[in-house]
């Protein structure tokens, strides 16, 4: 149940950030060139668009952190598995668990470091240059995204230990599960 909500939230969040960032930059470009059309410009000249680049970057950073977690679930993070594939199944299993475990360990470490960093920024009270948003909210992407990613690694590992299946990403979109 909680997993379902988390899955939906994750998918919905990254798709929205992607679409929103595109529209923001498109809007900024259209706005800049509306200056060439006098009757439009008289309405648009007072809109400031200096914040658009910053917003786009922040949206994409959030998308990247949560999308990376989604990516673990869809098996899109590939590695150099040539050597491991040639091993006997038992050894192969060891390396798969090792690599998923390392993923969980690394993301957990980053989540921890990120949380410490967010606290540090919170104390300094920094705000972003253009949007004037508190920076700690923006940096929150690191501990939140990384924790979620850690959870996904553990989830995939649990599923693998139970069923021996790993998510495999295929080009063209569909997620199919192969042994």
């Amino acid at each position: 149940m909680i997993n379902r909500i988390l899955d939906n939230l994750e998918e919905w969040l990254i798709a929205t950030f992607m679409g929103l960032a595109t529209l923001v930059i498109f809007f900024a470009v259209v706005h800049r060139y509306s200056s060439g059309i006098p009757w439009v410009w008289q309405y648009t000249r007072n809109i400031s668009t200096s914040w658009t680049q910053e917003l786009c970057i922040y949206l994409f950073i959030w998308m990247a952190k949560f999308g990376a977690a989604y990516g673990v679930r869809t098996g899109i993070h590939v590695g150099v598995d040539v050597l491991v594939r040639s091993l006997a199944p038992a050894k192969q299993k060891f390396f798969v668990v090792l690599s998923l475990g390392s993923g969980a360990f690394f993301t957990a470490t980053i989540a921890l470091l990120g949380a410490k960093f967010v606290h540090f920024i919170y104390v300094t009270g920094q705000i972003s240059p253009d949007l004037e948003m508190p920076m700690w909210i923006i940096y929150l992407a690191i501990p939140l995204g990384s924790s979620l990613m850690c959870y996904r690694f553990l989830q995939v590992m649990w599923h693998y230990l139970k069923s021996g299946e790993l998510p495999v990403h295929t080009y063209g979109g569909d997620i199919e599960v192969v042994a």
Binding site: I14, A21, I25, F26, T74, H77, G79, V80, V82, H169
Partner: protein, 428 residues
């Protein structure tokens, strides 16, 4: 000494099969804990500030644009146009497939996407017309590589970001080598088809060509937006990417109507998935190269190579050989992110233009995508053709020679890559 430890660590971690991004991050963590005086806290800041560059954001936009183009009926119309142009030649359908890949490459920045878009139409069509399946698959897997050589190109953006070169100049520099590669691939396809007497298509009338051109013009206009927009100073590359994403959406949903509005969230989600994966590798690779730089390693390696008395042509040969092997095991973005910052200082010391080095690396990546065991295009093509990976690999093998020939030409005749950007940007 330190450099040896860092690289040994990275290679060992990579060989365990863990995701490349995690291997990069883990080697940084381990090295920091064990050997370095840089505070570990810097990592969390770097994880954020590493991505804090507007130029990088062109990558998700181009991926999104590519996704709309692949699903939105643009590919079908481009294929039709290409077929009316060159279909009457020997092996007309195969030559058209190469040309379609070249056209699609000019709209999309990714090779696997090009293979999917064109291959899903052309492989079945060629098989139906009686071509040997292996031939068709080899042609598609190889010419799909044009996706990253003909601008726009995601791999070039990654090179630009990791070496601080201009995305615009790299894009322009890719045009002549890209057209050359397409021409050579078409020529070889035609020669093979002539020798084996593969079928031809009836000659299209001028009227049909015009009709097919008018049908595909909405998709092809993206070339104007990207290249014209960047070169004409109308947009930055990132803005051009965002505009082409919106434009591709409008074409796919409203003009051609091949994509339903309710499918758009799925396209957004898939593009976000792909982008996030690349951005995650980029973040960790930036972390890794930050570590290298703070330990002064690229400079040390550069000095060492220069001290060996390597001449530019020997260095470039070394680069090509190393990249060929690296390309066999890793996908393009990771290789560029790890190796470009190391090659660049050497290249500069030897007087090699960074833009030229970039194009050489990109063509090498094309080669890597059709060589086993890790050839992304081979995987995609084998999925499309429902052929085993070994068969597809064998089918693509002769093409490795063709691409290598073009690679050597571009490597040792720098003007092929540099003439156009120098002309357009007024560099003497």
């Amino acid at each position: 000494m330190n450099s040896l430890i860092i690289f040994a660590l990275l290679i060992v971690l990579l060989l365990t099969g863990m995701p490349i991004s995690i291997a990069l991050g883990m080697s940084v963590l381990a090295f920091l804990y064990a050997f370095s005086t840089i505070p570990v806290e810097i990592i969390s800041q770097r994880l954020f500030t590493g991505l804090d560059q507007f130029a990088i954001m062109a990558i998700p936009f181009f991926i999104l644009a590519g996704a709309f183009l692949t699903t939105g009926g643009v590919a079908t119309r481009i294929v039709k146009f290409a077929t009316t142009l060159v279909g009457a030649m020997h092996g007309g359908l195969a030559v058209s497939a190469v040309l379609s890949c070249a056209f699609f490459a000019a709209l999309s920045g990714s090779s696997p996407a090009t293979v999917v878009a064109i291959g899903s139409i052309m492989i079945p069509a060629m098989v139906k017309q009686g071509y040997p399946k292996a031939f068709g698959v080899g042609v598609i897997a190889t010419s799909g590589g044009l996706g990253i050589l003909i601008p726009p190109s995601i791999v070039m953006i990654i090179y630009a970001v990791s070496t601080n070169t201009s995305v615009g100049q790299l894009f322009i520099a890719g045009i002549v080598p890209g057209v050359l590669m397409a021409a050579v691939l078409m020529l070889v396809t035609w020669l093979v088809a002539k020798k084996n007497n593969y079928p031809t298509l009836p000659q299209a009338s001028l009227r049909e060509i015009w009709q097919a051109f008018r049908d595909s013009i909405w998709g092809l206009l993206i070339v104007v937006i990207v290249i014209g927009g960047i070169y004409g100073g109308i947009f930055t590359p990132t803005e051009a990417a965002a505009v082409s994403a919106v434009y591709a959406f409008v074409v796919a949903v409203f003009i051609y109507g091949d994509l339903k509005l309710r499918e758009v969230p799925r396209v957004l989600r898939e593009s976000a998935n792909m982008s996030a994966m690349l951005l995650y590798i980029i973040t960790n690779a930036i972390l890794f190269s930050f570590l290298l730089t703070s330990e002064n390693i690229p400079q040390q390696i550069a000095q060492w190579i220069v001290d060996q008395g390597l001449t530019p042509w020997m260095f470039l040969l070394f680069v090509n050989v190393l990249l060929f092997f690296a390309g066999d095991f890793m996908e393009p973005s990771s290789i560029i992110l790890i190796l470009a910052p190391i090659f660049l200082p050497v290249a500069i010391k030897l007087g090699i233009d960074p833009i030229h080095l970039g194009i050489i690396m990109v063509i090498n990546m094309e080669l890597g995508m059709i060589t086993p065991p890790v050839g992304l295009n081979l995987y995609v093509a084998s999925g499309l053709a429902r052929m085993g990976l070994t068969e597809v690999t064998l089918a693509a093998a002769p093409w490795i020679l063709v691409v290598t020939a073009v690679l050597l030409l571009v490597t040792y005749v720098p003007q092929i890559a540099l003439w156009l950007p120098h002309l357009m940007y007024g560099i003497p």
